[in-house]
């Protein structure tokens, strides 16, 4: 376009400016940087780095980076270097996650895909990865359909399903606290299926729901919902929100003194959220999906904690760090088993693959269930430690570690009909 203008009305200023622009382009143009070495195995990650799930997304990133370093130190995947490409998917904007997924697949031509912490974004990404036939591991989006009725041959999941979380704690909550439950639920895929799971379990146990407050993702003021919940006078207030929303909600619960009147509990709790809370807000019975301080010693656990401390400014690993670590190691292990990086072959190798001790870092058998591609990981059930009991980093007291298989619904109940492509 510019050229045609020049040829028609040559003008010294324009030419000078054009020359300056071309010169600037040579220095500034980001596009002339050569793409990655062709022989690397590229893993594209679209995960939250901003917003309410930023802390969890960043910890998954640290876990992934550690795994990639370990794999590369041992010769990479089938002799090829592992390269991680991170994109910020935002915490709640599914459109951006779809766009980033398409960019990773179409521009960067990644071999494998990872994402997302947010269930809704994970579902949206899974549709794209399936359309493009790219193997995809969901490291931290819990909603049931991902490995349930929407399960896909190319999609695997590392974290629990919402139903597994509900099953892990429902009976305990019911026995410990009582039968009238009130819910605070994030208004998107994750919250919807987690609530359904808890409600179904509660009904089975003979309890009642006094109300369910649906809160938009990323809100900071829970007061209206909390006042309603208190007025309903339940035995337990079940908090299902996550990320910064969890921090804000529990802070406000303790400010209003609701925890003195009603038991506070929930299903999934995360160390990222607990660390960000004031001590008085650390209350209730919860489950962690992985916890660093374990009763029995596990091979490789101490080394994992030490390595993560080095990468995270001295902090202990969280379930999210572990998810990221497991995700990348799973790809490497499956590729080694399949002797290929072709999506369908690796998908077959991942099905029913058991994680070795130095990756699973927990007592029970941990494996990807072939029928729904869901990882069977243990649930760490216990109580928040408000002050840490002498160890300020130990903010959770694990009462029991339950094997994933015992809390997971059967494959028929998940609604998944897995169809591998021919």
């Amino acid at each position: 376009m510019k050229k045609s203008i020049h040829s028609l009305t040559p003008d010294r200023r324009t030419i000078l400016k054009g020359a300056a622009a071309v010169g600037a382009l040579q220095i500034a143009s980001p596009f002339v940087i050569p793409v990655w070495a062709a022989d690397a195995v590229k893993i594209g990650i679209a995960n939250p780095l901003t917003g309410t799930y930023a802390a969890t997304g960043k910890n998954e990133q640290i876990g992934m980076q550690l795994a990639a370093e370990q794999i590369n130190a041992k010769g990479g995947i089938l002799g090829r270097k592992v390269e991680l490409l991170f994109e910020d998917s935002t915490s709640g904007d599914a459109g951006t996650a779809v766009q980033k997924t398409r960019k990773l697949i179409e521009r960067d031509r990644v071999n494998f895909l990872v994402g997302n912490v947010n269930s809704a974004l994970a579902q949206a990404m899974a549709q794209v990865s399936n359309e493009k036939g790219v193997l995809h591991i969901v490291p931290g989006g819990h909603t049931d359909p991902i490995t349930g009725k929407d399960c896909k041959w190319n999609v695997f999941r590392v974290c629990n399903t919402t139903r597994m979380e509900a099953n892990a704690v429902s009976t305990l909550l019911f026995k410990t606290y009582g039968k009238k439950w009130h819910f605070i639920t994030p208004d998107y895929a994750f919250g919807h299926t987690l609530y359904q799971g808890c409600e179904a379990n509660l009904k089975k146990l003979g309890g009642t729901v006094t109300g369910n407050e649906l809160t938009p993702l990323g809100i900071t003021d829970f007061s209206a919902y909390l006042i309603k919940a208190r007025a309903a006078n339940p035995d337990v207030l079940v908090v299902l929100v996550q990320g910064n929303d969890m921090v804000n909600c529990l802070k406000q619960i303790s400010q209003f003194g609701i925890d003195k009147q009603i038991h506070i509990a929930g299903t999934q709790q995360e160390l990222e959220a607990v660390e960000a809370m004031p001590p008085e807000a650390r209350v209730g019975v919860w489950m962690f999906e992985w916890y660093w301080k374990q009763a029995a010693s596990q091979p490789g656990l101490d080394q994992f904690i030490a390595e993560i401390r080095k990468k995270s400014g001295g902090k202990v690993p969280t379930a999210r760090t572990w998810f990221g670590y497991v995700t990348i190691h799973s790809y490497a292990l499956a590729c080694a088993k399949a002797k290929s990086i072709e999506a369908k072959t690796v998908a077959k190798a991942l099905s029913d693959m058991e994680l070795p001790p130095e990756v699973k870092l927990q007592p029970n058998k941990v494996f990807f269930r072939g029928g729904d591609h869901q990882l069977m990981l243990s649930a760490f059930i216990g109580q928040l430690n408000s002050k840490g009991d002498g160890d300020p980093e130990n903010l959770f007291k694990v009462n029991s570690v339950v094997a994933g298989e015992s809390i997971a619904p059967s494959i028929a109940d998940t609604g998944c009909k897995m169809q591998m492509p021919a």
Binding site: P30, I33, D93, G95, K103, E106, E131, P216
Partner: protein
């Protein structure tokens, strides 16, 4: 005069040549075909906003609502009614255009900041409907489970679903048709009336022009164009979500129009190219990509108030 017309012709030819050969030259600069398709859909949206802003002088801050309605119309049609790409585009265009036209009738009595505020309010109404009506729209999770369909032309089938280049040319054809209609309207007596209203509304009224009616027609047309671009965008991603209706996206469209040059026909397309490409590239490097776009807007508004294309024109005229 003739040299001016020749120059205009040359510029037009250059724009179309750049667009037609985009799948071939973009990869040389690190681009990819799907990015080009996205630029076309978003650029068409920015040109639709500018149809109203630049040529009628009315600022709508809620145009994303019609964009999003177009997207949902296309998605829902593909998902539930018929798996046909042209029908999806039509359904989206009608949904967004008719909704915009109906509400436009209520809007045209307001001017300036009041008009802009009411458009935000109406836009947010649709945003919250899309957010809350989970059973139909998928709520905050977005609408999944639809995909653009291959085109059946009777004698041949074009696979625009899996062939990115074929889809780019399909989008370019759609873009060309809509831009052609836009250009035709602007050259017609009606288009000149729009510009007369922009330049001096009171004088236009004294000349006997039904100002409200003309603004309403311009608004409605702009909504139809916007909804069409939204429907096209839904097919780029095979996805729609409530944020496509949010006023912050309306703001992005206005930014593209202002950045590119809102008194020019092609300016908003240039603005969209800059906006989308910068976002695509910088967001891979830093999560603070918006700061760079923000700095750029500040620079453009301060130093080139007529936008990037306006700057080129102005210098030529001087």
């Amino acid at each position: 005069m003739t040299s001016g017309r020749m120059r205009q012709g040359a510029i037009l030819a250059a724009i179309w040549a750049a667009l037609i050969f985009a799948p071939y030259w973009m990869p040389l600069f690190g681009g990819y075909t799907a990015l080009g398709t996205r630029v076309l859909a978003i650029g068409l949206g920015a040109m639709s906003v500018n149809f109203l802003l630049g040529f009628t002088g009315v600022l709508s801050f809620g145009h994303a609502a019609w964009f999003g309605l177009g997207a949902y119309g296309a998605g829902l049609c593909l998902k539930w009614i018929a798996a046909s790409t042209p029908l999806g585009l039509l359904a989206g265009t009608l949904l967004g255009g008719i909704a915009g036209g109906l509400l436009g009738a209520l809007l045209v009595r307001r001017r300036g900041i009041y008009f802009a505020m009411v458009t935000i309010a109406f836009g947010q109404v649709f945003y919250y409907i899309a957010f809350q009506w989970s059973s139909l729209t998928g709520g905050d999770d977005g609408l999944r489970g639809f995909a653009r369909q291959p085109l059946h032309l009777g004698f041949a089938t074009i696979n625009i679903l899996n062939d990115a280049t074929a889809f780019y040319y399909f989008a370019l054809l759609c873009f060309a048709i809509v831009v052609g209609i836009m250009g035709f309207i602007l050259r017609s007596p009606f288009g000149h009336t729009m510009i007369a209203i922009r330049e001096n509304e009171r004088r236009a009224r004294f000349l006997g022009i039904a100002v409200e009616l003309h603004i309403w027609i311009a608004f409605t047309l702009s909504c139809f164009f916007m909804a069409f671009s939204g429907a096209l965008y839904a097919m780029v991603n095979n996805f729609a979500d409530p944020r496509m209706l949010h006023y912050s996206l309306s703001g992005d469209f206005v930014i593209m129009a202002v950045m590119g040059g809102m008194r020019t026909f092609w300016g908003p397309l240039l603005g969209a190219v800059v906006f989308v490409v910068l976002q695509d590239y910088i967001s891979s490097i830093t999560v603070n990509w918006m700061s760079f776009i923000g700095l750029m807007i500040v620079a453009i508004v301060l130093f080139f108030p007529r936008g990037l294309l306006g700057l080129l024109r102005q210098r030529k005229a001087a």
